[in-house]
């Protein structure tokens, strides 16, 4: 079932979305945006649409199937955008039988609307009292009104102020807004439509129907078994979270430090997962926290301050890096404060951290000054002129301060793997339809596509093929509603992929092969490329900033040396 909400008339309509049969998650959101949004549209204008969609497995209770996708034309990159998020909402929308909610047009008046969806349907409510509130306060007010069991996605003041790095914050299973549809500024699109929040209440729903429940359960078991036996998903992630990568990437010389001027950070251990885990133990925080229903990997965490008060949650590798190593800060408590501020104001932590790194390069503050960084993020919350510049992202800040080293692709900040030391991810940054995005080519399906790691991360050979296949497989996984981290188990345990294929088939009565599902992944990329071409963003834009090819990165002193013409072959499939 699809809902369409027209913000100009506040009319809500409902249809079965026959033209979007067989699609879910990113495949669905990208198809809707490419079919219904003029690529030339202004991202904050009446022609852009914001879509919320569920994955193929949403609501089924399958392991780690709690993710959903948001889609729109991005105000940050000007490209199509799919922003994938965990938390409690994907499952509830799935249980409600909702495949998509499409928000159209612009409202006539300047107020705050809430879209509330339940078994009774979708209603638009005006709640002007939410205007100007940040995310934690918004969630608290909405929970007072609608109860603590609903799932909430909402924007903070950054979204209301239509800042290009604004995210949409979603509540986790305990009702804390610790999960973000972070990248690409979709919070600004939501703000442009005066949609302050979306709420899902699945009370009274039954289990979703299955074409073949027994086969579905059999597939479920295969995936669960793989996740519970693979050392990454059963031990590493639950114990240490994603932040354990800080030490590893620093050791590999690929942890971008002080605005991408070095690949190794001397303070890495202070901000890494080992320290995060020890701090959680000491203060009564928590690692091994599940962010979404059915999650059995449990990589999230709850971080408490020195007094034992909950400060923030979902403190991820990318955030510890961007608000840590990339600005030279080696104090986890400062990082946690910044993470909380970003989650509250509603800006993407990756974009914010990289932006601060660029600003520090431009002399706005000194590298390593965590307290100054905290104050700068508060400027974003106050929407001062400086705050608006920072909230506009790394590229805008780089231009404003005349900085030469600005790590962005298609206007979006490069995440936590330096492409000079980890070249495979560099190919993905350069070519993905999303602007620089590490999750667009995660470590999936090396076995099924025979692209195992015969590549040396410091050498150019083989990287383009690797990135191509990873991007295709990722586009499929992003369409299922599964968490990308199932990929770690899929990589080594073939039954895990069998289980995913069997679940998708048994849910809908399909008879597709793994190859068919990868074809879906390819089609996603074709849809997205076509939209971007229409928006004037083509192969010429598929490259990294010049400095990556010119400035050697210590300690390996390598540059990004994959020829542009090779990058242009990524989408030859």
């Amino acid at each position: 079932m699809f809902y369409r909400v027209n913000m100009a008339t506040l009319a809500v309509s409902k249809d079965d979305g026959a033209q979007y049969q067989g699609l879910g998650g990113r495949a669905l959101s990208s198809r809707i945006v490419s079919a219904e949004v003029d690529p030339q549209a202004h991202p904050l204008g009446a022609s852009n649409k914001l879509v919320f969609v569920t994955g193929l497995l949403s609501g089924t209770g399958a392991p780690n199937a709690g993710r959903m996708s948001l889609g729109a034309k991005s105000p940050l990159t000007g490209t199509i955008k799919e922003s994938n998020v965990g938390g409690a909402m994907g499952n509830k929308l799935g249980r409600l039988g909702i495949r998509g909610i499409i928000v159209e047009d612009l409202p006539a008046k300047d107020t705050a609307y809430v879209l509330k969806v339940s078994a009774a349907g979708l209603v638009v409510e005006e709640m002007p009292e939410l205007k100007g509130l940040d995310i934690y306060d918004t969630v608290a007010k909405l929970q007072q009104k609608y109860g603590e069991k609903v799932a909430i996605g909402c924007i903070g003041t950054a979204g209301e102020n239509k800042m290009a790095s604004a995210c949409v914050g979603f509540t986790d299973m305990e009702g804390a807004p610790t999960r973000q549809a972070g990248r690409g500024g979709l919070g600004a699109v939501m703000g442009s439509k005066s949609v302050k929040a979306i709420i899902a209440d699945d009370a009274g729903t039954q289990m979703v129907p299955f074409a073949d429940e027994a086969a579905f359960r059999a597939g479920t078991k295969k995936l669960a078994n793989a996740l519970l036996t693979h050392p990454v998903t059963s031990q590493g992630l639950p114990t240490y979270g994603t932040d354990v990568l800080v030490n590893i990437l620093s050791e590999a010389g690929g942890l971008p430090t002080r605005n991408f001027s070095s690949g190794r950070f001397e303070g890495a251990n202070n901000i890494g997962g080992e320290t995060l885990n020890a701090t959680a133990k000491e203060r009564g925080g928590k690692t091994g926290h599940a962010c979404s229903p059915g999650c059995i990997i449990r990589c999230s965490n709850i971080y408490k301050d020195k007094k034992g008060e909950v400060l923030t949650g979902g403190l991820e590798y990318e955030s510890c890096w961007s608000l840590g190593a990339d600005i030279g800060v080696d104090n986890l408590d400062d990082i946690a404060v910044m993470n909380r501020l970003c989650d509250d104001i509603g800006v993407d932590t990756i974009e914010m951290g990289v932006t601060l790194g660029v600003a520090m390069e431009g002399g706005v503050a000194s590298f390593g000054d965590g307290k100054a960084a905290i104050e700068l993020i508060k400027e974003v919350g106050k929407a001062t002129p400086l705050g608006r510049i920072l909230g506009g992202g790394a590229e805008l800040t780089g231009k404003t301060y005349g900085v030469r080293r600005v790590p962005t692709v298609k206007g979006q900040a490069i995440p936590a793997y330096d492409p000079r030391a980890v070249k495979g991810v560099g190919v993905t940054y350069a070519t993905t339809t999303m602007g620089a995005d590490h999750t667009a080519g995660y470590s999936v399906t090396a076995n099924i596509l025979s692209v195992g790691g015969k590549v040396d991360p410091l050498k150019p050979e083989g990287q383009v093929d690797l990135s191509r296949n990873l991007q295709i497989a990722t586009a499929f996984l992003d369409s299922t509603g599964l968490c990308l981290f199932v990929a770690f188990a899929v990589l080594d345990i073939p039954e895990a992929l069998d289980g995913i294929v069997e679940m998708c088939n048994a849910r809908f009565g399909w008879n597709k092969t793994a190859g068919d599902y990868l074809e879906m992944g390819k089609q996603v990329l074709r849809d997205e490329r076509a939209f971007n071409a229409g928006a004037g963003i083509g192969a010429g834009d598929d490259d990294l900033p010049e400095f990556f090819r010119k400035e050697p990165l210590p300690p390996h002193n390598t540059v990004f040396d994959i020829p542009k013409k090779d990058l242009d072959t990524v989408f030859n499939f």
Binding site: V232, T233, S234, L245, L249, E251, S443, G453, V455, L458
Partner: protein, 99 residues
Amino acid sequence: MSGTIELRAFMGLADTFRERGWGNPRQLSLDGPTSGCELLAKLDIPVEQVEGIFINGKVSLPPVAVVNPGDRVALAPPGIPGPYRVLLGFKRKLPGEGE
């Protein structure tokens, strides 16, 4: 040619180092070139607890790693997430394929 290496341990192995009262990093003297497996035996760490050995920032697998005095070395156990497993070259063997 003897000398010392600077040795780090990550994730659960960092706990092992702490429990044993070792520094992290730990300075360790070697008599000369040492294989990854010899190094782990010397440290009394089972080889299955180490997925990759970083030597001066480059990943080797324990059976093929060679550590020389003066190297910066780090031990990474199985279970570390992230694209690194393909992108950094940990994942070398495909199912049904030899080393």
